[in-house]
Symmetry: C2
Subunit: 812 residues, 2 copies
Amino acid sequence: MGLEVLAMDQKGYRRGSFQSSTSDEDMLEIAGASLDFPMADDDPPLDREMGGFSSYNGGEMNGTSKMMDFLEEPLPGVGTYEDFNTIDWVREKSRDRDRHREITSRSKESTWALIHSVSDAFSGWLLMLFIGLLAGSLAGLIDISAHWMTDLKEGVCLAGFWFNHEHCCWKSNTTFTDRDKCPEWKSWSQLIIGHGEGAFAYILNYLMYVIWALLFSLLAVLLVKGFAPYACGSGIPEIKTILSGFIIRGYLGKWTLIIKTITLVLAVSSGLSLGKEGPLVHVACCCGNTLCHLFTKYRKNEAKRREVLSAAAAAGVSVAFGAPIGGVLFSLEEVSYYFPLKTLWRSFFAALVAAFTLRSINPFGNSRLVLFYVEFHMPWHLLELVPFVLLGIFGGLWGAFFIRSNIAWCRRRKTTKLGKYPVLEVFVVTAITAILAFPNEYTRMSTSELISELFNDCGILDSSKLCEYVNDFNSTKGDDLPDRAAGPGVYTAMWQLALALVMKVFITIFTFGMKVPSGLFIPSMAVGAIAGRLLGVAMEQLAFYHHDWVIFSGWCSQGADCITPGLYAMVGAAACLGGVTRMTVSLVVIMFELTGGLEYIVPLMAAAMTSKWMADAIGREGIYDAHIRLNGYPFLEAKEEFSHKTLAMDVMRPRRNDPPLTVITQDSMTVEDVETIINETTYSGYPVVVSRESQRLVGFVLRRDLIISIENARKKQDGIVSTSIIYFTDHSPPLPPSFPSMLKLRSILDLSPFTVTDQTPMEIVVDIFRKLGLRQCLVTHNGKLLGIITKKDVLKHIAQLANQDPDSILFN
Amino acid sequence: MGLEVLAMDQKGYRRGSFQSSTSDEDMLEIAGASLDFPMADDDPPLDREMGGFSSYNGGEMNGTSKMMDFLEEPLPGVGTYEDFNTIDWVREKSRDRDRHREITSRSKESTWALIHSVSDAFSGWLLMLFIGLLAGSLAGLIDISAHWMTDLKEGVCLAGFWFNHEHCCWKSNTTFTDRDKCPEWKSWSQLIIGHGEGAFAYILNYLMYVIWALLFSLLAVLLVKGFAPYACGSGIPEIKTILSGFIIRGYLGKWTLIIKTITLVLAVSSGLSLGKEGPLVHVACCCGNTLCHLFTKYRKNEAKRREVLSAAAAAGVSVAFGAPIGGVLFSLEEVSYYFPLKTLWRSFFAALVAAFTLRSINPFGNSRLVLFYVEFHMPWHLLELVPFVLLGIFGGLWGAFFIRSNIAWCRRRKTTKLGKYPVLEVFVVTAITAILAFPNEYTRMSTSELISELFNDCGILDSSKLCEYVNDFNSTKGDDLPDRAAGPGVYTAMWQLALALVMKVFITIFTFGMKVPSGLFIPSMAVGAIAGRLLGVAMEQLAFYHHDWVIFSGWCSQGADCITPGLYAMVGAAACLGGVTRMTVSLVVIMFELTGGLEYIVPLMAAAMTSKWMADAIGREGIYDAHIRLNGYPFLEAKEEFSHKTLAMDVMRPRRNDPPLTVITQDSMTVEDVETIINETTYSGYPVVVSRESQRLVGFVLRRDLIISIENARKKQDGIVSTSIIYFTDHSPPLPPSFPSMLKLRSILDLSPFTVTDQTPMEIVVDIFRKLGLRQCLVTHNGKLLGIITKKDVLKHIAQLANQDPDSILFN
């Protein structure tokens, strides 16, 4: 197969936008060399990219081989990457350091430069502030709209159609016992046939519910399909890939931002089994990416921009749950790849600003920061760890089951005709969801409302069915309610919840992966919360009726409040979320921020740990990693240890029986020789060696730089003909005048390519690729160049060792 | 100066305990080769280290050059490092992966091996559990003892001398208005002269206070001096260095643990201006290190052990403040070097176990997890950010001032005779502290009590002087107290606090660095809390008397509770702590965990940010980094960017005009040649090249391996004489029978040494050293070996560029 340097993009691979770790100066000269360079017609991508500055006046260019030192700013297009390519972290970081060095050294020269230097230093903070404000505002907007549109499925407010149900009744002046009932709020049947009772009214409401749901979801899928195909799904797998250094142009663009924000509201309102949390991370990252364009520092540097995106992801989770610390830890643990400590601090800032912006918008109307505010009054007992661990096991099993089924379904969608009809798919799934959801109170309400209710610890005044206990007010002291016998409402709620559980479990598998924005957090949490509440109520009744059992002795006497079913719901939610996403610390911290009590960390941790172990025992990958693999993104997992005993020589190209590596010699090849190599091969770069015989490595040169430099020299430099010799050496030998002029190209040579020996274990090579963010690495043996390993080779090798199809990597 | 491979240890450098990244197999063979190997008399360190297994029966050893494959377990002593050496992270991680691979592959063979594999996987968690339990228990013990001994300076409890003041009065059956007054508690004057009033009683109490203080501190310094010199100071700079891969034997040993625990109690009780928080981290790390000996996995692998230590540090902070999340972030942000995500989760577990162990011991008697539990009732106003930022500026200034003065004083101690009299120094400082502290109520009480009181929001029933306001109960509604005019008590408190501030500011400079355990968190927080409270009360009075001012209009009308002086104290504490340590996220999270209200994160963050910026503008280093530099520890800072434009060739040895690098050729040197090189040079390792002329690198061989292998071959292998040729090649040429036997040493050759080219920018080299944890890196030019860069060279180079003395690095 020969050498392939990251020829990932099938359209643009020939020209190789790949750049090795050349220093900034080299880049400038390349830029200079390419001015007024006429593009070959058969090379449209390059043409397109370079078109931006083809009108630049190159008149000042001198004809010597030392090109264009006078240019200080890199030209547009230079130093950027093609779509679906991997960035070179080393080079990007190098470039930023150079930039920073220049600004610092200039800052001593003038006041203006000093101000520039200071403003440059603070631009990161300013950007974080903007991201926080924008992400917080968008999250508020989404919350309010989704709330209103969800209620629109059931009815409308006469006092103003823009009020949602709660708001409408809250505005109402009449006293009301049930917060849900007020004269201003009219269900569709009341509005159309004048009354809300009876079978016909029920059917009418049912019909309206289904119609609205279909309307919302179809609008969502059409918008996604028509305007921003990247706006579908949760976006977290792709964001992980992007943060690891991959380029997916437009994935975090303005259009995606706008369409995802709108369609997220529609998708959530349609009552599908999906959440807004994952997509909010995507929305926040889009904000981050869009705002990066305000600052040169971040616009032009892919590595710096990824720092900003990490912070934006933190802000996204922060507003999704009202958990800034949890958001930062989520970004650190789950999403980010390169996360220096400076970023940690800034992420925290962004997350905080976002959370407080959201709070000042106050979409939940309760001045609470968090999505599910819970306050528990009773401590838990050590013995309760047993049911908590059981919930953990359930969560792990559900997580593993969900991942398997969902991946199997998504693979089917990719490979069969099913994938061709996304609108129909959404229509069918929405119709089934709506038809099944309406009759059951707990599926009809929005999933976040359901979770809220399940987490809730029943007070005396709670009127919901879940709190319909047989009251025994004699034994009530203050706020603490003792365990009581369940009333008929609780029993009804139990079987309704059980049905809801079954429905959620199955419908979510088919929902996640459709062409609408869809998050997993809320459905997973709902499954866990239902299971937890069921177990909690069961435990409570057990404790009430059998408080003489030995397991309850000592801590649960008659009339005591021992079991808090809401806590069980919460633990169950954490367990299921952990099973699906395999989050650990961030999960526990997010849940901790919901309750605010350190007390409850231990149950949460026990459940999260059990759930992770359980799920890992069945399948190693979390849902995001599974989707990354399904889509073949080139993601080099930083968490998994590479544990095989292969060596660099087993992975490098060329393989044992392949023709030798294509190299360029430093001082003996003519222009024609090099052009032949360029035309006959498709590699993005070539190693330069002292001589073919010695194979001693001098450096690495990029295909694109070579093409540009040679063409430029042929046009501008006198005496460059096909027989001119190209020199990559520092000093060229004095030539007799009869010889054609020589072409000196040392300036485009990367003199510090990374090398390893052929005997280096692959575990070390993988470590180097991961930690330094390399794109390729040369392989030597006894000082002689032997071959090359690219990131693609590494990923293919890992896939091969895991018995997967190595060709599935990098977009299929 | 020539080549020096990490010759850090002046005693042991000749033999070079340095090991490059040889694989485990190599190590085994070396071990085999060294059996029954008689040590040269002039090589005592090696002798000592190898002595442990000199009685091992080497009879089964065969005489071929392929040595001892039958050994499966590495022998004791092999693979360990000498004191004051740097570990090779790559090799350690490699070894652990090999170990893990072997256990995994064996687990399929038998049930027993499977159990071993599972128990190996869970041993990390078990270890974390033990660390949490031990660290929590020790922290509880320290808290209780310190509390009791602090009160012992003032008096004794008649109901039982083991009760502290609070406990004593709490046990008392009499009703009491002031919690401090009860008949069972007798001050020394009451006990000795029968009453507690009058000048004589005061003087007697004063005297007893000073005597106890001197007694405690002298005992502490004598114990430290006599039994565990490493137990002094906070320990955090050294732990940072150790975690970065340095070996300081005994620093985390059993003796240090015991002595530090005891002397910490003594030092805290003596009333010196120091805290227990930093030393608690050291104590927790000692626990971690000691407990590592229970598990082979951690005992034998320096990299794995450092993962455990990172978690232990988190547990230490967790128990110091009752802030498990803050503890983990502190470990991540401030202490750790290599912190994989798996460690994050385990650290969190350890921190949580530790916190809950401490809580179940309940040393503060209030069932609270946190050290300073605070509950504020009022939100803050946006305008209050101005005083908060002012506190930030104060904190930054104080931090920078403290670091400068403390480092200047410590340098004086190191360089002058002062350092020779640690006991006298402690005596004098304690005497001054005690004499100055007693008359002022706020310095007499323990610093943590002081902070607690300053953080406190005054309630109606608070009887402390700080809450002596002119009451106006007409305007009181419920719990909320409006701003009131300050009473005489507050005014007295104000000037006493001002005096306390001045005293703390100066005495702390001289205290930190003495030969007793001393933490900085508490004194720094005290300074900030005093300043904050002063500002808070001033603001409060301003708002009370001038609520008609425009700045108060709209949010602070008459009779409203606008200003919470306790919050100011808290913000001030965060600012000062931030200025001294330059912590960011972890600081805010720790403070957040104290209050539990997300509300107050914003003021804390504003102050922490301002303080860090302010302090950074004056001096880049935090106190820990400054002490690392003062002591010359070889710590490669991961946070600071290397921003100079030097190249690898500027740093490598040999320098331009030095004699060339000492190398060994792969197939042309005789045993005698190699022995000459070994005797004439002191390097710990030698590059092996194809030939002297070509200088093409083959691998890297360690001095120690060479010595052992040659000696062994001379004894065991027939025909090895001084003229035998040493082969490092894979296949040796067939030799005529007249030649002496050859010695094949390929097995001890590291075939994958790290290389960079001479043109590689140092910023990339530094990045490689940091991220991969290298000990040395070879430098090539056009495939020829040119020189070598060791971690020491890198550190010296960085020091040189920072205009510091490069020779100060690595213990002076």
